[in-house]
Each structure stands twice: as structure tokens, then as C-alpha cells.
């Protein structure tokens, strides 16, 4: 099925801003500072898959320190109280929230998977036959964080056909 992707960097950036305002930086003192560097490193990542009217993945990736800070903010904990499970749960929910909002901008008929969390770099992700089509890349209190969209190459080929 041929679809036109209607979600661009500005849309993603707006979603990211809402997530920061709601959970990670409600006081508005430490926003994600965009670097536009799509090759910035990551140590952990989470993702949700979208299938149906559009096929692909939404990936949240960051350094471990940023993930720990996100969990502390999300769960209202001190940094040194954050466990691996807290990090994993928070990363999963962040991917779910961004993915759900991306899905809402796609043509009707898209389905969202439950989130997957991998406490390893994004580069280790196994998304065969996909192409990165959009992303927000930045530093949060000096630590790398990114949110990116990966489209199935099947969809990409059909679009170009």
C-alpha cells in the first residue's frame, strides 16, 4: 500500500517538546537542545512498531545517563534510586507515547505494537529493510537523546513507484 508520510522533523520536535513538558522537564529548565546530528551515539533504546497504513518503527535512543535521568524525572525519584527496571519501563513508555502520537498523524488503519526496550546501542537494533526518514537529535543536559522514524523499505519503494 502506498502512503505518503505526513510526519516530519517539526512534528516530532513538537511531540518531544510535549513529552519534556509533561514528564521530563515540567519546570521548563532543561529542554532537549537539538544538535541535528543523526549519528550521535546511544547506549540504550526503545521502539514501537507501526503496521497497516504505514509500516515502520519509532525509536527512542539515548545514553545510559540520559535514560537514568529520564527515569528519575518520570518516576519522581532520586538518580541513585533508579533501577534497571525503572529505566526499562521509562524507555518503553517514552517510545509508546511518541509512537502513539506518530500513529495519530498517519492515515487511518495503523496499528501500534507494545514497546520493546533494549539496553544496548540503537546501532544494535534489528530493523531489516528499513530507512530512517525523520528524526530529532539533541543533547539533554549534555547527554545524547534521539527520536527517529524508520520506514519499511517496502513502503518506500511503493511510494517511489
Amino acid at each position: 500500500m502506498s502512503v505518503e508520510v505526513e510526519v516530519d522533523e517539526n512534528d516530532l520536535a513538537e511531540m518531544v517538546e510535549q513529552v519534556w513538558e509533561s514528564y521530563l522537564d515540567p519546570e521548563g529548565v532543561s529542554p532537549l537542545m537539538q544538535t541535528y546530528d543523526e549519528n550521535q551515539p546511544s547506549e540504550v533504546h526503545s521502539s514501537v512498531s507501526i503496521t497497516g497504513s504505514w509500516n515502520g518503527h519509532v525509536v527512542y535512543a539515548s545514553s545510559r545517563a540520559a535514560a537514568q535521568r529520564a527515569a528519575a524525572a518520570f518516576l519522581a525519584m532520586e538518580l541513585d534510586e533508579v533501577s534497571e527496571e525503572d529505566i526499562s519501563d521509562t524507555l518503553g513508555e517514552l517510545a509508546n507515547i511518541v509512537g502513539g502520537n506518530v500513529k495519530a498523524m498517519l492515515p487511518p488503519g495503523a496499528q501500534l505494537s507494545l514497546p520493546q526496550v533494549v539496553l544496548a546501542p540503537e546501532a544494535s537494533a534489528r530493523f531489516p529493510n528499513t530507512e530512517r526518514i525523520s528524526g530529532v537529535y539533541g543533547l539533554w543536559e549534555g547527554e545524547p537523546v534521539s527520536i527517529s522514524m524508520w520506514q519499511s523499505s517496502t513502503d518506500t519503494k511503493e511510494e517511489g513507484a
Binding site: 509533561s22 509508546n96 507515547i97 502513539g100 487511518p108 507494545l114
Partner: protein, 131 residues
Amino acid sequence: MTPMRAMVIDDSRAMRMILKRIVTKLNFEAVEAGDGKEALDLLADMTEVPEVALIDWNMPNMNGLEFVTKVRADPRLREMTLVMVTTESEQSQIVRALAAGAHEYVIKPFTEGAMIEKLALLGLVPTGANS
């Protein structure tokens, strides 16, 4: 006075913690469930039904929409206020949930203030509880 009770139903422990923190701040006693089925099982064992349930949509075993439908079909649970709290933000999904019997709809991400306002609109907390 017996505190009001809120049931928080979400497969994400992180989101349950956020919602639990908000309702506890509003003096609710919080009960947690990881999916719709677990929530129904807990409700079956309760002598007093919680005043409100905050319900995610996408959950394993039983999703939020199925839970709402089942609650609405059960006369014992009729008085419970149902609030969907979900990333499902398409108009058609919102209409489905409200048609199934949800009273309100909160889209993730939400701020604490926005959630409290919704609960105030439903008469579950005093207006101005957010201030």
C-alpha cells in the same frame, strides 16, 4: 471518612506510578492493575467499587476498550467513572471509547495539571485542586 478510590490500569509500571502519584496527591487510595483482565478480577473481589478508573487502551490480555465495555455491561460497576488515558488520539478512537461508555479521554503525554482538571470536570476533585 473513607477515602475515594482510584483504579489505575496500565501495562506500563512507569505510567501507573505517575498516575498513582497524581491521584494519591488528591487523597485517593490507589489500586493498580496491569491490564483489563487483572482489573476485572480485582473488581470482582472488592466489596466497594472504586469511584474512578484511569484506563490505558493498548494492553495485553484485555485492552482498555474491552474493559470499558465489560464494566458498562455490569450493573454492579455502573457508578464507576471511566477515564481513558492513552496515546490513541485519533478522533475515531475517541468516539469509540466514549460510545462504549468512557466518561472522559486524556491523551498521553499529559501534564499533572491537565489530569487534575479532567478529574475536577468530572466532579471527582474540587475545582482548583490544581492550584
